[in-house]
Amino acid sequence: DDRIAFGTDWLAEAEYGGYYQALANGIYRRHGLDVTIRQGGPGVNQTQLLLAGRLDVAIASNSFIALNFVKEAIPFRVVAAMFQKDPSVLIAHPGQGHDSFPALRGRPIMISADTRSGWWNFLRARFGYSDAQIRPYTFNLQPFLADKGAIQQGFLGSEPFSIRAQAGFDPVVLLIADAGFSGYAQLFATSDRLIATKPDLVQRFVDASIEGWRSYLGDDPAPGNALIRKDNPEMTEALLAYGRAALKRHGILESGDAAGRGIGVMTDARWADFFTTMSAQGLYPADLDWKRAYTLRFIDHAAGTETRRP
C-alpha cells in the first residue's frame, strides 16, 4: 500500500471522525492507502511539518494558510475543503447582552495567536472589532467561567458541551460562518510535487477521506470513535456524540456547495470572495495570484457517486 502520513490540526475529536472512521473501517486500506494519522494540538504547527516533508498531507485549518503559501511562494496548495463552514465560534455568557456579533464590538475577547492572524481579521472587517479587544486565550475555559463578562473563541462541537456538562449552563454560541465568513476549514494541503508526481495517490486519499466522512456521519460512528478515544483518552463518548451532532446540525460538511456536489468541494467564487475581503484588510497584496492556492481537480467529480455505500 501507499503510505501517507496525515496530520490533523488538533487533538483527536469528532471533528476528525471521518478520517478515523476511514481508518477503522478499512476504507483507506480499500483504496490502497496505509494512512497514519498524526494529531495536532496547541503549539503544534503541522504546516511546518508538512513543508519539511514529515507529513504527506496536512489539514490546513483555514483558507488563510493556503493564501499564505502563495504569498510566501511556497510550492504547496490545498486540494479539498472538508468543512464548508468554519466551526469556529465565539462563546459568551447568557444574559450579558452578548448575543450577537455586533454586540461584542469593543468588548474584551479571548482569542489565540493563530485566530488573531486568521478569522479575527474577518470580524474586524465585518463588525469593526479592534485589536485592543484581544485578551489572552489559554486553550482553557477557567478564565471564561470565572468571569461573567468574558467572551472567548471556541469550537462548535467542544466548548458548549463542556460548559453545559461542567458548569451547567448553555453559553451564547456565535458561529462565524453564519456571519458570512467565507473561509473554508479543514482543507487538505499537500505539495505541488506530490500532486504532479502522484495525482492518483492524492485522488484516492481525498476520495477515501470523503467516504470516511459519509460513513462517520451517516452510519454507526462507533469504530471511528473507538480509534479517536485511543488517540485521545480524555475524549468521552458523550462529547463525541455531541460533536458529531453539531457537525450534522450545522451542516459543517454538507451545506452550501457540498449539498449538491459532495463533501470536499471548493469553488473559485468562494475563494475569490474570501481573498477580496482579506486583501481589503491589507493581509494580502491585491495582485496576489490567489488561484494558485488551490486546485479543483481532485474534487467535485465522481466523489459523490463513488462513495455510495456498497
Binding site: 494529531q39 503549539g43 503544534v44 511539518l49 467561567l145 456538562a165 458548569a167 480524555e234 475524549m235
Partner: protein
C-alpha cells in the same frame, strides 16, 4: 519536628484549601479541592501513572544528557581560553531560545518524537549545569593553582586533580536546578511536540483535561508533576549530601 514539618505544612495547606473551596462554594471546574483531585486520580490512576512514567523517562534521559553535555562543554571552555571566548556568549542562545519556537524545527530535523522531546528538554535543562560547572572550574583557589603550577602540573592534571573536585559543589547545585528544569522542559516540549504518536506524557493530560474542563484531573496530573519534581530535587539533594559529606561540605 523538623522532619515532620513539611508534611504538617502540606496537611495544613491541603486542609485549608479544602475548607476554603467548600466554604466559598467555588465550582469544582474552577478550583477543585484536594478531595476532588484525589478522586480524579483514583478514577483513572493507571492512565495518569502511565503518562507520568513516559514523562519521567524523557526527563531522566534529558537530565543525564544535560549533565554530560554541560560538564563536557564547561571542560572544553576551561581547557581552551579561546574556545571560551568564542563560545561562552553563544551558549546563552540555547537558554533563551523558547522551546515553542524551535520545537517544530527540532521535530523537522530529528523526526523521532522521543528524541525530539529529549532534545528540547535538554536545551532547557542544560544551562544551569553548564554555567555552574564553568563557574566552579574557574573558582579553584589561586593559592592551590599556584601550587599546581609550581609542580609543573599539566593543564589536564590541574583539571582532574584541582578544578574538577573544586567544581563538584557547583556542579551539584547546578544539577539540582537542572533537575526541575528537565522536568518542566520535558512537559513544555511534549506540549509543543504534541502527542506525536508516542505514549502521551503528563503534559498532554494536563492540556487535554484543561481543555475539556476536567479540572480535577488536570490538578491530579499537576500534583503528580509536582511530586515528581520534589522527588527529583530531594534525590539530587541527597546525592549532593552524600558526595560532599566526606569532604565536610555538606
Amino acid at each position: 519536628m523538623t522532619r515532620a514539618a513539611p508534611w504538617l505544612f502540606a496537611l495544613l495547606f491541603l486542609s485549608l484549601w479544602e475548607i476554603a473551596v467548600r466554604a466559598s462554594g467555588v465550582p469544582v471546574y474552577l478550583v477543585p479541592g484536594p478531595v476532588a483531585v484525589l478522586g480524579a486520580f483514583l478514577d483513572a490512576p493507571s492512565l495518569l501513572l502511565a503518562s507520568l512514567a513516559s514523562t519521567l523517562g524523557v526527563t531522566l534521559v534529558a537530565l543525564a544528557v544535560s549533565a554530560g553535555l554541560g560538564v563536557a562543554l564547561a571542560l572544553l571552555m576551561q581547557a581552551s581560553p579561546l574556545a571560551r571566548a568564542a563560545f561562552q556568549p553563544w551558549t546563552v542562545v540555547l537558554q533563551v531560545t523558547p522551546i515553542v519556537a524551535i520545537a517544530p524545527l527540532v521535530i523537522v530535523w530529528v523526526g523521532d518524537p522521543f528524541a525530539s522531546v529529549v532534545i528540547c528538554a535538554t536545551i532547557i535543562a542544560f544551562f544551569p549545569v553548564f554555567s555552574n560547572t564553568a563557574a566552579g572550574l574557574a573558582a579553584a583557589p589561586a593559592e592551590l593553582l599556584d601550587l599546581f603550577r609550581l609542580n609543573g602540573a599539566t593543564r589536564w592534571q590541574t583539571l582532574r586533580l584541582l578544578r574538577l573536585p573544586a567544581a563538584l559543589p557547583y556542579f551539584l547545585a547546578g544539577l539540582r536546578i537542572s533537575g526541575g528544569l528537565a522536568l518542566v522542559g520535558t512537559v513544555s516540549a511534549e506540549i509543543v511536540a504534541g502527542a506525536g504518536g508516542v505514549a502521551s506524557g503528563l503534559a498532554y493530560r494536563i492540556l487535554e483535561a484543561g481543555y475539556r474542563l476536567q479540572v480535577p484531573r488536570m490538578f491530579a496530573a499537576l500534583v503528580l508533576l509536582s511530586a515528581s519534581g520534589i522527588t527529583i530535587n530531594l534525590a539530587l539533594g541527597a546525592l549532593a549530601g552524600l558526595l560532599l559529606r566526606r569532604r565536610g561540605e555538606a
